[in-house]
């Protein structure tokens, strides 16, 4: 399993295509924080996001922050939430906005595999709960939009050595979650027979 360093937003699709499920990735550059209500606003309420999401890396988060001034925040504790709730936004994020990577914890169900392959997207698994470390890797909160959704706003973070992440679903139709679940279901049959 390879180790990669990728800078976001990406401009060259090959950066995504070289990643394989199980690989380790460290991220540099800028990432966008997003959550349930943010995506409900974009897709269910049809409001255009005031940030460019082309080639972007999205992080499922609702950060703990301290307000400094109008539109200015400093980090307190930034961690990652469970992704599965937000799987239905995967395809429109890819087709309408050109998002290339989604990062969260716990994985996406199998319905994300096909659109990610078709659209050249990846899912990155972060370690849920490891917020103390994650907070140190976020250098600065550069922008925030839709503050009225606090803390589920649209956030722009500058990161340094963000990770390590694991490629959970790659752009070639492979999902670690699918494979682990398939093996576990087989194993359960064996375990039940022993009970």
């Amino acid at each position: 399993m390879a180790v990669h360093e990728v800078t976001f937003p990406i401009t060259d699709e090959r950066e995504i295509l070289k990643l394989r499920a199980g690989d380790e990735v460290v991220v540099q550059g800028h990432i966008i924080g997003i959550r349930d209500r943010t995506q409900v606003r974009i897709f269910d309420q049809g409001v255009e996001p005031p940030m460019d999401l082309r080639g972007a890396f999205l992080l499922h988060t609702a950060p703990g922050v301290r307000k400094l001034a109008e539109g200015r925040y400093e980090k307190v504790c930034i961690g990652t939430t469970t992704s599965a709730r937000m799987v239905r936004f995967t395809e429109p994020l890819g087709t309408q906005y050109g998002v290339r990577a989604i990062c969260g914890k716990g994985g996406f169900p199998d319905e994300a595999i096909e659109p990610m392959q078709r659209l050249g997207m990846v899912y990155f698994a972060i370690v849920g709960g490891a917020a103390a470390l994650e907070t140190t890797q976020i250098e600065e909160i550069e922008e925030v939009a839709w503050e009225e959704l606090m803390p589920e706003c649209l956030w722009k973070f500058r990161v340094k050595d963000f990770g390590p992440l694991t490629v959970g679903i790659d752009a070639h139709g492979n999902s670690l979650y699918h494979d682990v679940q398939a093996r576990a279901q087989e194993k359960l049959k064996e375990l039940y027979a022993r009970l």
Binding site: M1, G22, E24, T61, A62, P63, G64, R66, V76, C77, I78, G79, T81, T82, A84, K105, G106, G107, A125, V127, G128, G129, A130, A131, A132, L133, E134, T135, T136, P151, P164, T166, G168, L176, Y177, D179, V180, Q181, R183, A184, Q185, K187, L188, L191, Y192, L195
Partner: protein, 299 residues
């Protein structure tokens, strides 16, 4: 009992709750650190080792930066043991716990998660109608008060399961349900954590007992040897499923399996599963009748 003693003791409970909530969020207990270190040694899968190594780094960063281990400050759950002769009524103990929770949330500040369950509007600094949640236990012939704070994160709480097995399903049915629940949960509850199982009583009581099970120090065993044996067996079986750290595949799926049980109706066989994530936060204090507080006494 004079009013002054009551007021002072209530303030003591409030101070203790405020301290315990923040302490639990920042400084995870030694038994958990040991269990995670052992898991790191034992894990052989590459993604699994990467996860456990990152958890290890995270705990160290939380220590050195004095930051929270996890951003989810959870729902504040308390387990309280009240001695028969402790000179403060439980109604006032509850007020102390509630006020301490709110104070810690405002002063730190901590992320406030509490919302009205229908309107979803925030209800205050991690308090609200019936929040925080308290599990009460009353102890005869004793004048002390034990308070344990367990901030319960939502990622793992969302992975809670109840099944009204029938008596004919027997213990086999119980084991199958626990196994299918944890496999189905996959990476969502932030494994490897503590699987709490509540068996018997009634539907609601089984889940209540499952929550008590996750609040125990890691690896403690049920006093009933039959139940303790089931804990050992389920712990082994769960770690054969291959779900692994954060559901990415591996040897360590759970750190422990704890069971609490109650006798039940001859027609019932309820089984509840409550999951506690790897950041199994927990902090406790003993309060004496004179208002003295000892933060080093685990129960």
């Amino acid at each position: 009992m004079s009013i002054d003693v009551t007021t002072d003791l209530q303030h003591t409970v409030e101070d203790a709750a405020a301290h315990l909530y923040v302490w639990a969020l920042k400084d995870i207990p030694q038994d958990l650190r040991d269990a995670l270190a052992a898991a790191r040694e034992r894990e052989t899968s590459v993604p699994g080792k990467r996860v456990l190594e990152t958890i290890h780094r995270n705990i160290n960063v939380a220590d050195s930066e004095k930051n929270l281990v996890c951003q989810d400050t959870g729902v504040a759950v308390y387990h309280v043991r009240v001695g028969e002769h402790f000179p403060l009524h439980p109604t006032r103990i509850y007020e102390g716990l509630r006020d301490g929770t709110a104070r810690a949330t405002i002063e730190h500040p901590l992320r406030s998660n509490a919302v009205h369950t229908i309107t979803r509007e925030n209800t205050g600094p991690n308090i609200g109608h019936r929040l925080p949640i308290v599990h009460w236990e009353f102890v005869a012939d004793w004048d002390g008060l034990d308070v344990k704070c367990v901030p319960k994160g939502s990622g793992s709480e969302n992975m809670s399961f109840l099944k009204m097995c029938v008596p004919a399903d027997g213990v086999k049915g119980i084991k199958q349900f626990v196994l299918e629940s944890i496999v189905g949960a996959g990476g969502k509850p932030c494994p490897p954590g503590i699987v709490g199982v509540g068996i018997g009583g009634s539907a609601d009581y089984a889940m209540y007992l499952a929550k008590e099970a996750i609040m125990r120090p890691i690896g403690t065993r049920n006093a009933d040897p039959v139940v303790a044996q089931l804990e050992d067996e389920l712990y082994g079986l769960l770690n054969e499923t291959g779900i692994g750290p954060m559901g990415l595949g591996g040897d360590v799926t759970v750190l422990q399996c704890h069971i609490e049980h109650a006798d039940t109706h001859m027609t019932l066989n309820p089984v509840a599963v409550n999951y506690q994530c790897w950041a199994a936060r927990r902090a406790s204090a003993h309060i004496g009748p004179d208002g003295s507080v000892d933060y080093d006494r685990e129960f």
